[in-house]
Structure formats: C-alpha cells, structure tokens
Symmetry: C2
DNA sequence: TTATGTATACTGACTAGTCGGTACAGTAAT
DNA sequence: ATTACTGTACCGACTAGTCAGTATACATAA
C-alpha cells in the first residue's frame, strides 16, 4: 500500500503528538515515534526532513484544529442565541460539554508543552503558537467586547483580557488535570470561568445556577 | 573556596532551573548546566549522582519555596484581616503584588514544565509535585471553605474547587505570559480571579472596584 | 497484453556526533 | 585527614539524519 502518503503522515503526527504530550519534544526520540507509528526510519525522514519539521507540522496541525473548533462553536453559539453575552455563554458551554465527555487522563495542550521548551525552537515556530492564541483572543474577545457594550458589567473589564483569561483557565486546568490525574477538573474550572462571566454581567440574580456538587 | 558545598549546590540548582525553564529537562544537557554554573563535570556529579537526582532536587526545592510563600502570605493575610473572606482576598492580593513587580519575561513554573515531560520521571518525583499542589489546595481551600460558611456565596461553589481554580489561573497565566512575552498578564489574570471571588461573595456592590485600564 | 518509464512511498543498515555517567590524578582549604 | 572541588580522558548507549535500494501504482505505447 504505497499509495496515500497523507495517511502515513497523519499517522506519524498522531503518534508523535501522543509521545510529545507524555515526554516533551526533546524527550521524544524519533525511534519512539517509529515504534508507535509502526513505520521505518526512512519513512519518517521521507515525510519530515528534520525533527524540527515535525515540530512545525505538529504545531500547524494543532493550530488548525483549534481554529476550526473555535469557528464551529462560535457559529453554533451564534445560531443558538441572539445576544452577544448569551452567545459567549453558550460558546463556553459548548467547550464545557466536550470537556465533560473527555475521559483521557491528561490530554494536554501542545502549545503549553512547546512553550516550556521554547528555547529549542526557532522564532517562526513560536510565532505560529502566538498566532493561534491571538486568534482566540480576537474571535472571543470581540464577542465579549460587544457583550460589554450592551450589558455594562459590574466590574471594569475588557473583552480581550476576559478572552485571555478563558485561555489561561483552560491551560492551567489541563496542567492541574495532569498533576491530579483527574480530567474532570477541566470542565469544572471552565464552568467557574462561566460563573465569573455570569456574575460580572449580572446574569446570576437568585439561585438559578446549579453549580457542581 | 572549597568550603561550603551548599553554595555550589544551590548554584547548580539555580543554573539548572533557568535552563530547564527555557528548554525543558530532557532538552537541557549536563554540559549546558556546567557552563551556566561555571563548574566542572566532576563537581556536578559529586553533588548529583545522576541527572534524575537533579530533577528531584529541583522539584524538592521549588516545592519548599512555594510552600514557604503560601505560609508567609497566609500568615500576613491573617494578621491584616480578621474575616476569612477578607483574608483570602488579601492573600491573593499579596500574590498579585509580587506578580506586578515581576519583570522577567516568562519565569515559568517548574511543576508545569515537569508535568509536560511526566513520562520521563518516576512516580516518586511526580508525587512530590502533586503533594505541593495538594498543599495549596488544603491551605487555601480550607480558608475559602470557612469564608463560604460565613458568607454564603451567590453561586454554588466549594473551597477546594475555588482554591484549585486559583492555581489553574496561575499556571495558565504563566503560559500565556510566555507565549505573549508579556509578564503583566500574570497579575492581570490573578486580579480577575480576585474579581471572581468578590463577585461570588457579593463584595462588589457598586463601582468600588478600580479594575485595570 | 505486455514492456517500459516514472513518481511516490517506503525499508533498514549505516554514520557521525552527543548524551549521561565513570575514572582518576591532582589541588586547595579546613 | 576530610571535604570540596578541577580537569580531562574515556565509555557505551543513544541520537538525528543519510543513503542505496525496493515496492507499488499508474501512465504510455508497442
């Protein structure tokens, strides 16, 4: 089956991603990827001239997946609600939904992994990560900004910072989930972020919110 | 200066910590540490029989520093305020203070770094990290729980989850600060966590809070 | 139908260099 | 004498990366 090289390439990326999230990029040898992907050494270097090219491809793919998810969820949220504030709340809710169904312990985020080995990569690779984070900030931040304009919040905040915080909570919760070996933490913490939004915008009035246990 | 070996040991740990936060543990060679610490190969292995011993020492020291900071800030907060809720707010405020003065871009957290290379370390080392995080949860969580009991919050929350969230925000903000090369993000995000507490406990009534710009 | 050509996909042995770790002879301060 | 080093030479294991060659698919054309 020498036909579709794209399948092999994805297979390599899948194996590499798992390995990198377990042992870091520098801690993952090409040999280990070969074994996980059940391919030969030659095949690997046929698809990726150097290990650094693999790093770039890994980041690129992850950034694209992330971006697609944001777009998909934002569109759904925009269809499910009219008001920008409600749209954001639904948007975050959709993320909470997928996190709740997550069973893998510690899936982790490639961006976080790479950012803690940043010294190994060139500026171009790091720029790709920043671009991905910026996309979240733009997409979610402008929506939050519109919500702020329509519903003056109780405290002084701006859309960008609020959007950044969501990303922070996300990343931090992943680390906590890893350390504690409890994937539920992610949904739990993102739920609290939603609480924050609801409180800041004065959505919570009485005891309408049914929090965790 | 062959006297105090502890100085040399700390010197090695300092150099190693910086290197690890830039390039990860696996990505940091012993040679690089020797150069940074300006010591010879023999000296390194005199103090640390293996590189894994260095990892353990690194984690151990970081955990101790963390713990001391929690204790110190908690004691100060307990002297500065009487009410458990106010104590927690002051406690978080003290952290925000030190983060505001931080200029180093991307200091980073060793625990986060190691958790993204978790596959390289033995269970004992990982247990040390979990223990450190648990200490935060216990110390801050029980204080928050007491605040909850005295000041029923607007939403359903518990002390432990709230304490965990603070840690998540902390860790996540460090990653964001690295990616964006902007250390101010850390204080910014932790301030938002404080906002969350204030809103949840109904401290914010009018426009008394002077948020960011 | 069969031979030929060509691009892609893949194999696995090989190489040059780096890694953590060892050995050990010597130095310097207490 | 003991502790804390320096310095260098060395080892085997592992590292990323190379390369000559093989297999497959598909096109062209005799």
């Amino acid at each position: 089956m020498p036909r579709d090289g794209q399948i092999t390439k994805q297979n390599i990326l899948d194996a590499a991603e798992k390995a990198v999230l377990e042992r870091g990029f520098a801690g993952t040898s090409v040999d280990e990827i070969l074994e996980r992907a059940s391919i030969s050494r030659g095949t690997f270097f046929y698809h990726f001239p150097t290990k650094d090219d693999l790093a770039r491809a890994l980041i690129h793919r992850h950034a694209a997946t992330d971006r697609e998810m944001v777009e998909r969820f934002m569109e759904r949220a925009e269809r499910l609600a009219r008001d920008p504030l409600q749209q954001v709340l639904v948007f975050i809710g959709l993320y909470i939904e997928v996190l709740e169904e997550m069973e893998d312990l510690a899936p982790g985020c490639l961006f976080a992994s790479f950012s803690y080995e940043a010294g190994l990569f060139d500026e171009e690779t790091k720029a790709m990560i920043q671009e991905a984070v910026d996309h979240w900030r733009d997409r979610v931040g402008t929506k939050l900004q519109r919500a702020i304009e329509r519903h003056p919040p109780r405290i002084a905040v701006n859309g960008e910072t609020l959007a950044d915080l969501a990303y922070s909570v996300f990343e931090g919760a992943m680390i906590m989930a890893r350390v504690r070996k409890d994937p539920r933490i992610m949904a739990e913490h993102l739920s609290q972020y939603r609480n924050y939004l609801e409180l800041a915008f004065g959505v919570v009035e009485g005891a309408e919110v049914s929090g965790g246990d």
